[in-house]
Structures are given as C-alpha cells and as structure tokens.
Symmetry: C2
Subunit: 408 residues, 2 copies
C-alpha cells in the first residue's frame, strides 16, 4: 500500500555528524520490496548505552535481550531490521538475533553483548536468517549514509523520515544529540514509540545516561498515544560516544549535567511529537494539557484517557467542539474527578467551567481553532496541583484504511 | 444523518404483554425532529426495582438519582428522554428531572422517588423543562403502544429496535421477562449499555432482583464493548410487577429462583449482544473466548483488551487473521500472560499454540471464517482455570463517519 505523506509531516532537519557514530544501510529484503531495510550504526569503543523498553509482557526477543544488554552499559553497534518484528517467534527468532550479534561482533572484534538489535514489522514470522546474514554482510561494508537515509531505513508504515537534533553546552564543550525515530501505529504508553535512537558525542556514564533517558521518557514517549495499542517491540536507546571530550557526566551535580538533561528532554519530546505527526491517518496534532489533578501521574492518566477515546478523536477529526465527550473521557479514566469542578477549553477558550457550560460561550472562534491542524485542549480538574501534557492525533478514515489491510 | 440499518441487525421479536406494565410514547421534540422521543412505562403498585449504573465518575443527574432511588426498591413509573442526555448540566439539569418526577408522581398519586428518569443524547445541554413538561403531559394520556414502539423511541443513533423476551417456569407459574435496550456507541464496561430496561411479571423481592441483575450484568453488559468509551448515563433497570402471582422470590433457596436467575442472565446476554450488533459502523460480530487465565476476572480483562484494540478490530474488519495483533493486545492488558504458553485460534482453528505459529497452519479456512459476519476468536493463556467471553464488533469506516459529525 502506498501511503501519502502525513499532512502533519515536518521537513527533515539538517543534522551534523556525531563523532564516533557511523551509519550504513543495506537491502536485506525482509519483505518483497526494493528498499533499504537494514540499518547499521557503528559506535566508537567505550560508547555508553541506556534504554527504555515496552511494558508489553508479550515482548520480542530483541526487547528481552536489549533489557539485559543495557545493564552492562556499553555498546559498539546497533542493527535495526525493518519489515519483520521477529516477535512471537520463539527459539527460531532468538537464533536469528544471536546470529546477527555474532556476525557484527566478529566483524568489530567486540563482545556480542555490545551489539544491539531491534526489529519492526509483522509479528509471528521468524526473522529469516539467510536474509539477515546477507543484509548484515552488505551493511558492514556499505558506504556511510546520512541521518535521513538511516531514518528512512528504520521506517515501515511511516510516511516521512523523522529526525531531530539538539545542541548543549557542557561548560566550554559543545555537545550534540541526534535522534531518529520510526513509528506511526501501535503507539501507546507505557513506552510510546516503536523504535527510537539517540546518539550524542557527550561523555556520559551509563547510569547517568539511563537516568536522563528514563526521566525524559516520562514526559515524552510515555505521554503520546496514537491508538492505545502498545507494541511488543517498543524500544528507545541512547548512545553516548564521549568523543566531545567533556569531563564525563556521572550525576546531576556535575557541571553541565543540567544542560544535558534538558537537551535529552528536548530531543525526546521532539521525537515523540514526530511519531504523533505520523500517526496513522492523522490529520490533526492534538495537545491535551491537564491541570488541577491530585498528582502529576493522575493528570497523565486523565490526559491519556482523553487522548485514547475514539469518540474524542473522531470529534476532533470532524472539527466538532464536543466537550461533552471530553467530560465522558475524564469520567472513565478511573482517576479522582469531580464533575462540578471540571473546566474544559479549546484553543485558549473555555467551553465549560466548574461543571457548567459557559453561558456566553462563543463557538465560532473554537470552530476556527478546530479547523486548523494544531489543536489544544485544556482540562482543569479543580482538585489539586497535578499537571501533565499528552499528545495524540485524530482518528480518521485513513486509520481504518491503513489498518484494515496492512498485512494482506 | 440517516444511518443505514446494521447488517448485523436481528428482527424485533414477538413480545407478549407483561401484566402490570403499560407503555406509552410521545413527542417532546428534544431535537429538531418529528419522531417520538419520550417513553413512559406505567408500572403496577408494588413493582420491585433493581438497577446497575455507569461507573463513569462524571455521571448524569439521572444516574445519581437512580442509584439512590433503587435503594428503596419500589417503582411506579419510568420516563426515558431521547436526544438529550442532560449530563453535565448542573442544577438546571437536576431541576428538569425533579419536574418530571413531580409531574408523573402527581398523575399517579405516588411518591416522586418511585418515578425513574433516564436521558440519552448530547451531553452538556440542560433538558428543556418546557419541552419535557409538554412531552410528559402527552405521554401520560397517550394510547398504549407496542414494545417495538417503545424500543424505537428510546433510541438515538440506533439503527434498529432492540428487544428480547424470555419465559421461565417458577414451579407451576409461567413468568415472562421482556427487555428493550438502546445503545450503539460510547459502549464500554463497566456497565456496557447505554439504557436497558427489563420488565417481568414475576413476583421478586427487590434485594433478590438486584442480586439477579448484578450477577447477570457481570456476564453480559460488563462483557461487551464497542469503542472502549463509557457513557456518563449508562443504566439498566429491572422491574418486577408481581402480577404472575408466584410466591415472591427472596433468595436462591426459593423454588424457581434458579430458573429466574437463568432467565435474567439469558435476557441480559441477548440484550447485550443486540447492542454490539448495532455497534457504530459494525460489519462483524466478534466473540472472544479467553481461557487459561489466572482468574475469571483476569480473563475478562484480557478479553476486553483484545476487544478494545483498534488494531485487532481493524484487522477483523479487513478479514485479516492477524493473530500477532491479538498477541500484542494480550501483552498490553496488564494481566499475567506468558508469551510462550499463549495459543490463539479463529473459527475453531488454531493459528498459534504455545507461543509459536503452527507449522501446518492453513490460513484458507480461517480466511473463509473471517469473511463471514460472526467471528470467533479463542485465546488460551495456558496459566490457570480462569475463563470469560466478551463480545465486540469490528472498527470500520462507518464508525468514523458516524462519530466525526454526530453533533454538528
């Protein structure tokens, strides 16, 4: 199926080189297609790694192994297979991953545990070992490619290449974070994106890199949803090569650690938003800011209940300021809420306050806001200080078209 | 919007009279339409009542009051307004309900607390008191109408009238249960239907009637979902007039109590299925039987995670035996599951067993099954003895069309 480029797509940014990272792509032909579908990132010796993974209990072999591998904190390579998720494939799937790890480790002369593998695509078909072997062989010696090439190659039903870059000053040292991400459906917390990779030349100790990534994840990938479905393969990895030469960051007390943490949060939020912008069938990008909850976590849950409500998402698709559906979604979230303290607004205009429609509510400017591509919904629960913002897209005919005949 | 009759619709059954129940309908014109939209059921003195209600914390005034009223266990009348749910309308909504209760109670010479009111339709617009007064006035003296007329009148976006009838023998006494129900979207547990009413001529003590209804609800209305959205108005009420003359049922030890409980479960399941058959945009009726869970409740949650997954529902819409999406939904349910013990089948044919695709899996008969209108999915978790069956429909373009411009 040919998919049209999302109307919410952003242009791929100019992305600088990251010292210690070399990207290459190849054709493994995991599906009957003529495109690159295997991505190889070679990482300098001593690169630190951190990761966050799907909480889906039926996760893939790659996720199981990745979780173990990040414990040791070091990475030399990343392989990403597109077109076959290798999930739910038992021992045969595991053998394919081990073969890839051994092949790459043999080439680099590193431990197999420093080779990370991700796969994305159809569930239940073991990754074909012969295609993987040939694909990896080609990738290991391919010419270096661009960030955009790599971003395209990790994609499956994505309609545009997704990347982001952020710079930060650690004292006198300028460091760069580059990220690429893929995903457009089966996106939901916890761990919202399918596959995302962040590379930085900063020197960061693995434990602190993990702390930064986990904190950023809470306010980015865990706050987006396209369709409430959580992939069995969701993975975000961060790699820090240390080539910038800064004094390695090990805790928030280190000089520059704040700036690095902020940069990580920035790039994760940018990448998360790109996934929503490519949400299957998305025509509108929706931000939902919830305040007045009993806690930040409660606010996040309420926000996700709204963001996952098919009735809210179809109302926005239709440009309908149907705040009653927002009330419904708040009420079903399972979190503390009081109908008579609830306020709801669209595009900066309150539609209801303290449980009642505003008597002088003028729907015209709200309708104009909802006719646009960037929709803001504000919900105040009137109970406490908890707040969170989540992001989603509308639910349209495009979603149905894409998903009713994806595999066939 | 004119909606086409659901392809899954069933004909309205022949429904006998229930002694002690008189049905009348009228035009309150809550919307700009020319159809009956106010239903009045007059009940014999001494009628017992029980109810189950939405767990949405932003529920309507009608639900709040209904919950209180059923405590006393007696009912003389039911009024159902269609076209305006009166939810999220504060004191003005409450005044409208109280006006209706007083008007009907004055006519019947009964306490206001014995007049039950339900409303369904748009949220956030107070029920107009003048229209309600005129509508009730007309209904109180209207000619008696049929069960089908009443079933049509309580409907909103429903595409067919929904009713069911069941008979039971309590010793030598034959009793009848008649039910009508409306609902097609914003359907989700807990308490899945929008508005359902069951009437019986059996003599049943209110506490036992409540016990029967609550038990039946667990395996019927709490096991269906159309779109995971839970209405703020969901209500099922059961009324027992006692006119059949049986010795009143007060506990499961009473003769005939088993038969009555079974009849209540039967009619609730029939009514629940009718709601799924009118699920917005539904083309296929899907039963999902989960076994091998650690408990029945766990099985129900896993079943609902599958039933609410947009990716599963769109796969079924496309006739795609994409059992990988079922795996994904099992894994995100938050319940105990082991990928390597999981078995999944469609239409009586296993696609995967013990965590692996079957090597001799023949997709042709499965594809034929999925091309039909009645789809069976079987999931065995391989962990314990817990089991449950849930029902849903597929997710189609029709759902988007209906909900992207319902209110406008």
């Amino acid at each position: 199926m040919d998919l049209e480029r999302s109307p919410l797509a952003l242009p791929f940014p100019e992305m600088p080189r990251i010292a210690g990272v070399t990207l290459r792509v190849a054709r493994a032909r995991y599906k009957n297609w003529d495109r690159c579908d295997l991505t190889y990132a070679e990482l300098a010796e001593g690169t630190a790694v951190a990761g966050v993974f799907t909480k889906n209990v039926c996760c893939s072999t790659e996720v199981e192994m990745g979780r173990e591998q990040v414990q040791a904190g070091r990475a030399r390579a990343l392989i990403v297979n597109a077109g076959n998720s290798n999930a739910f494939t038992g021992y045969r799937g595991r053998e394919a991953v081990e073969q890839i790890m051994e092949q790459v480790a043999g080439h680099l002369g590193c431990p197999t545990s420093e080779v990370f593998v991700s796969s994305t695509g159809v569930i239940g078909v073991p990754l074909p070992k012969d295609k993987a072997r040939e694909g990896v062989r080609a990738a290991l010696t391919a010419d270096e490619c661009s960030w955009e090439d790599a971003a395209l190659t990790i994609g499956t039903t994505d309609t545009f290449a997704k990347g982001a870059t952020v710079a930060a000053m650690l004292g006198d040292t300028r460091v760069t974070l580059n990220g690429i991400i893929k995903g457009s459906g089966m996106i939901a917390p916890d761990m919202a994106t399918m596959l995302g990779y962040i590379f930085t030349d900063a020197a960061v100790e693995p434990a602190f890199l993990q702390r930064c990534l986990s904190a950023a994840n809470l306010e980015s990938f865990s706050c987006i949803t396209v369709d409430s479905d959580t992939s069995t393969s969701d993975t975000v990895l961060a790699f820090a090569t240390g080539k910038a030469g800064n004094s390695p960051l090990a805790s928030l007390d280190d000089p520059g650690a704040d700036a690095f943490m902020a940069a990580m949060q920035d790039i994760c939020r940018q990448l998360a938003h790109l996934v929503v912008r490519d949400g299957e069938g998305a025509q509108k990008f929706i931000g939902i800011a919830v305040s007045g909850a009993v806690s930040d976590e409660s606010a996040r849950r309420v926000g996700l209940a709204i963001a996952n409500s098919p009735l809210v998402k179809t109302a926005i698709a239709g440009g309908d300021a149907n705040w009653g559906r927002v009330v419904m979604a708040v009420g079903k979230a399972g979190e503390p809420a009081d109908r008579d303290r609830l306020s709801i607004g669209f595009g900066g205009i309150w539609a209801a306050r303290d449980g009642l429609p505003l008597p002088d509510y003028d729907e015209a400017p709200v309708a104009k806001h909802l006719a646009g591509q960037e929709i803001d919904i504000v919900v105040d629960l009137g109970l406490g200080e908890g707040r969170a913002t989540v992001w989603t897209c509308d639910l349209t005919h495009g979603y149905i078209s894409i998903n009713a005949d994806y595999r066939s």
